[in-house]
């Protein structure tokens, strides 16, 4: 995901590494100031050593700017790329052989993609911390070989000890996050179903249910608090012991005269500093594991088995009088073999009383499901190879945030005359005559409209498409009797110029069909 942005990733790592090196140099320069300027009382030395401090800070500042901005840019764009691929797979006509819950997919498209792209940060900060420890070790080696070796030996030991302390921390923090998420999800779920709760007088039961998850969340949080505190104490204690050891060795060397006072100060400052990157390194493996887990989940979706082979659906002009549709012993898990000939340009009702069978038949006609046996022919050509557009939207009327017009057009602009026709055919007059008319926003998923209104918008949307065969599955099931009768009257006129198939048992619509097929 980063091959096109190699330079950016290099810049981000270089910046973060440079920043840590500059941080490591600050105590060294402090030692220099004290040793060369303060102890001998040399004003000239004060000037140049403070200037050196300024240079180190300038480097610190600029490398941070470079590292941070490059990392954000690299990880954000990487996230966008991964997300784009993921959404393309989620919406791909191939579908999924094993459906997944939208909640899971959203969490993968959100958190997991961000974590996967966060590899930039893990590598950048891990590399920077390693560089900081090595810089400190090199500086110490230059001052005194035994001190350098002390740090080079102690650092891996400390990283190992802290890594050991991070294991329960990671685990408990994960379970805390899960418990908090569960409490939050329970609250949203109960509040979303507030009407249903009121309908069965279950307010008290709902409150008690939330209190239970809330207690679990508190218990998990308390366990995580303890683990975090233990980790903080262990890492601080390790740092203190390392500091004491270095102070002892460096003090002894300074007393023996093998290192100067300035060098002693630099060593003590470095010893104080080096514990931070050591603590950071202890987390790298855990962070890498998190990234890997997220990347695996993303890959799982990208590589998931498809429901159907990618249908080659070339864009084509619709057949002027619609196409002939032939069902040749089409069967699905709930549908017994069904054969029917739907003449081109006709309105044909297929009565399928089992609602699961009806749903599966529509899925087959939509090209979203392979029939367990049999085949579908469009003007004599198998459906999957047909160049003629067959439109078979699902029964659930799903709308999108946006205006009424956006939903009727659904990414294919229509002129006003055509929109007017559609509004009339689907008896949408009451919706359009309200404030805003066609520009009225319908809200998230069209939820500002009633169920019946959404279904009529979905019907108009389907009628607005130039399909050779239009399959409508119980298109008025949520519409009241009077409006349904009105739609039935008008649908006939809207159906000319194409083949219309009405699936399922809405007699008011069956009436206008040229022929009736019973499954």
């Amino acid at each position: 995901m980063f091959h096109r942005r190699r330079l950016l990733v290099a810049g981000s790592i270089a910046g973060l590494v440079g920043h840590q090196i500059a941080e490591a140099l600050v105590p060294v320069v402090i030692g220099l100031v004290i040793d060369r300027a303060i102890a001998p009382g040399d004003p000239g030395a004060l000037a140049w050593t403070l200037a050196a401090l300024g240079v180190v800070f300038a480097g610190l500042l600029l490398s941070w700017r470079l590292g941070e901005l490059a990392s954000v840019r690299a990880s954000e764009f990487a996230g966008r790329d991964v997300r784009r691929g993921l959404v393309a797979r989620l919406l791909s006509p191939r579908g999924f052989a094993a459906p997944r819950s939208p909640g899971e997919l959203l969490s993968i498209a959100g958190t997991d993609v961000d974590r996967t792209a966060g590899i930039v940060w893990v590598l950048g900060s891990g590399g920077a911390q390693l560089a900081a420890v090595l810089t400190a070790a090199v500086a110490l080696l230059a001052i005194s070989v035994p001190l350098g070796i002390l740090v080079l030996v102690a650092a891996p030991v400390l990283v190992a000890v802290m890594h050991f302390a991070t294991a329960p921390l990671e685990r408990r923090m994960a379970s805390e996050q899960a418990a908090v998420a569960a409490a939050s999800a329970t609250a949203s779920d109960l509040l979303t179903g507030l009407r249903t709760i009121a309908g069965i007088g279950a307010e008290q039961a709902a409150v008690e249910r939330f209190e239970r998850v809330n207690r679990r969340s508190l218990d998990a949080a308390k366990r995580a608090v303890t683990a975090k505190a233990v980790y903080a104490a262990v890492s601080l204690a390790g740092s203190a012991l390392l500091l004491a050891a270095i102070a002892w060795a460096a003090g002894a060397e300074a007393l023996a005269g093998t290192i100067s006072v300035g060098e002693l100060i630099a060593v003590l400052g470095l010893a104080q500093f080096v514990t931070w990157p050591i603590g950071g390194l202890a987390f790298v493996t855990a962070e890498l594991a998190t990234v890997r887990a997220s990347a695996t989940r993303v890959d799982g979706v990208l590589a998931a088995e498809a429901a159907v082979d990618a249908p080659a659906r070339p864009v084509s002009t619709p057949a002027p009088r619609g196409a002939e549709l032939v069902l040749d012993a089409v069967a699905t898990p709930h549908l017994a073999p069904l054969s029917a000939v739907v003449p081109a340009g006709s309105v044909t009702a297929i009565r399928v009383t089992d609602h699961l069978a009806a749903r599966e038949l529509v899925e087959v006609l939509a090209g979203a499901r392979r029939p367990s046996s049999g085949r579908v022919l469009v003007d004599g050509v198998p459906l999957e190879a047909s160049a003629l557009p067959v439109l078979a939207p699902p029964h659930e009327a799903t709308l999108f945030a946006g205006t009424l017009r956006d939903n009727l057009e659904l990414h294919r602009a229509l002129d006003d005359a055509r929109l007017e026709e559609l509004v009339r055919a689907a008896a949408l007059d009451d919706v359009v005559s309200g404030a805003g008319g066609l520009e009225r926003p319908v809200g998230e998923r069209g939820y500002s409209l009633s169920g019946g209104q959404r279904q009529r918008v979905a019907l108009a949307r389907a009628l607005g498409r130039d399909a050779a065969v239009l399959v409508l599955h119980d298109p008025t099931s949520a519409v009241d009797a009077v409006t349904e009768a009105r739609i039935a009257e008008r649908l006939r006129a809207a159906a000319t110029g194409r083949t219309t198939v009405l699936v399922a048992a809405r007699p008011a619509l069956e009436r206008l069909a040229d022929r009736l097929v019973t499954a």
């Binding site: 303060i38 401090l53 579908g95 939050s184 509040l191 507030l194 009121a198 203190a240 002892w248 619509l509």
Partner: protein
Amino acid sequence: MSTTPLPVAGPRETRRELRRLLRGRAGALSVAAAVLLLAALAGLALPAALGGIVDAVLGGDSGALAPLVLVIAGVGLGNALLTGLGRALVARLGERVLAELRGLVVTRLIRLPSTVVERAGRGDLVSRASTDTRIVGDVVSNVLPAFASAGFTVVVTLVGLGALDWRFALAALAAVPVQLLALRAYLKRARPVYRAARAAEGERAQRILESVDAAETVRAFGVSADRERVVDEAALHSVELERRAARVSVGFWNQLNLAEFLGLAAVLGAGFLLVGAELATVGAATTAALYFHALFGPVGQVLGSVDELQKAAAGLARLVGVLGLPERSPRPASARGGAASLEFDRVGFAYDGAPALDGVSFDVAPGETVALVGASGAGKSTVAALLLGALEPERGRVLIGGIDVGAVTAETRMPRIGLAGQEPHVFAGPLADDLRLARPGAADGELRAALDAVGALGWVDRLPEGLGTVVGSGGHRLTIVEAQQLALARLLLHDPAVLVLDEATAAAGGDGDHVLDRAIARVAAGRTTMTIAHRLDQAARADRVIVLDRGGVVEQGRHDELVEAGGAYGRLWAAWSAGRSGERERGDACGRMGA
């Protein structure tokens, strides 16, 4: 109806609520503060001991080294222990307060009067309960403990610098103006950028969710590429804002680095002058420089947390705001079962001045089945809401089992009311838990009996884990018919005396209608039933039909009588039955069979 968001508490109200939550916890609060103070004092001893080593080396005092090293190890370990303990105490306290607040808020939200809910919109409720509690919770568990311990360290270290020599502390203050300016600019610039970035992220998530939820529709219409573009536009916008936020944050940290440099240079300069004037030892100058260097981390921690803390304060104000809302007094409910009479006596009700019901009167005998018929907007749903207690009549009286709903006291025992709505919610979690909302503590046998009665036991037993299968959001997806059956099973467990069916089978379609008709007949048996029907075969099966139009009763009587009379209902029936032919008889037969 325009939306009125739930209120947000003012700063004074928020502080008062916070004090109330902390009242019983003063002991824990002072222990935590004392431990963090001790930790900071122990931390202070470290640079002092390091400075002591410098002085010992300069004085050639080799005997002083070993005790100083022991001091470093000792206070270092003490500081480690106390810091861990102090943070744990602060965090535990914070988590307890948070859990209590979360419980209060969600309980209040669940019991809000439905008029408040409808006006605010469910989205606002959900965001208070989830987003706001999460923002406050994140800060309590991740920011607050470190902030508290860093705060103590900063204050104690500044005092330590002053104790060393007041001029060191004065020099260190050189950093403060730059820090304050940086913080002010950051807060001013960061807030709108962060808010916009979060909003852009939310928009992206929203578009992904919408597209994923509608994947079948998207595929059917062949608009995958268009939806991908819609998502990607939001994603690019989010990337742009994240980068802008990063620039603001980098600017802030750069300014803090500058402040560190100025402060450090000033402290070193002061050391130069003080040592030169023999007012301080080189060791003291070293200690001062190391003190200041050790402040970098805690100062960054404190200043960097201000933004998070402010966000949490805003979330807190939104949570406390909920607590100021009224609570709906639950109607005292009587024992389960039985059938009760209903009476509407010249009832009037208006939504924001627009009349929904105007002088509606009718009676329903115990055990009678009445269908309410009328076009949308005729007032059918208002009747249901009044029966359920979701709304109170503005004029006239509503009597259930002879009891006026407007004159209920704690001693009154109202007959139970149950409602099945058009879009039943399937609660996330095991299916058994969903059912137990209606009857807490019910045995598995009771649940199975209820499922069996509504014809759902078959498919429930075929689920991967039967009653234990996780359903609802994030779980096994139920069909509309299955969700309706579940809602009816809940009603059976609730066992109401009066059953309100609000277009309960509206969206099923196909034979789902018949499956549900049978289930409804089982649930309705032996109860008073009010059906809000738009499929007129449901009305035809009722004992009586009441026709509503523009907020008033225009006709009522038996189905046959009304059809005969050829009034409003007769015309509706003619339109409805025109195409149904044989279908109607079958529907009838099924309904009777079930009953």
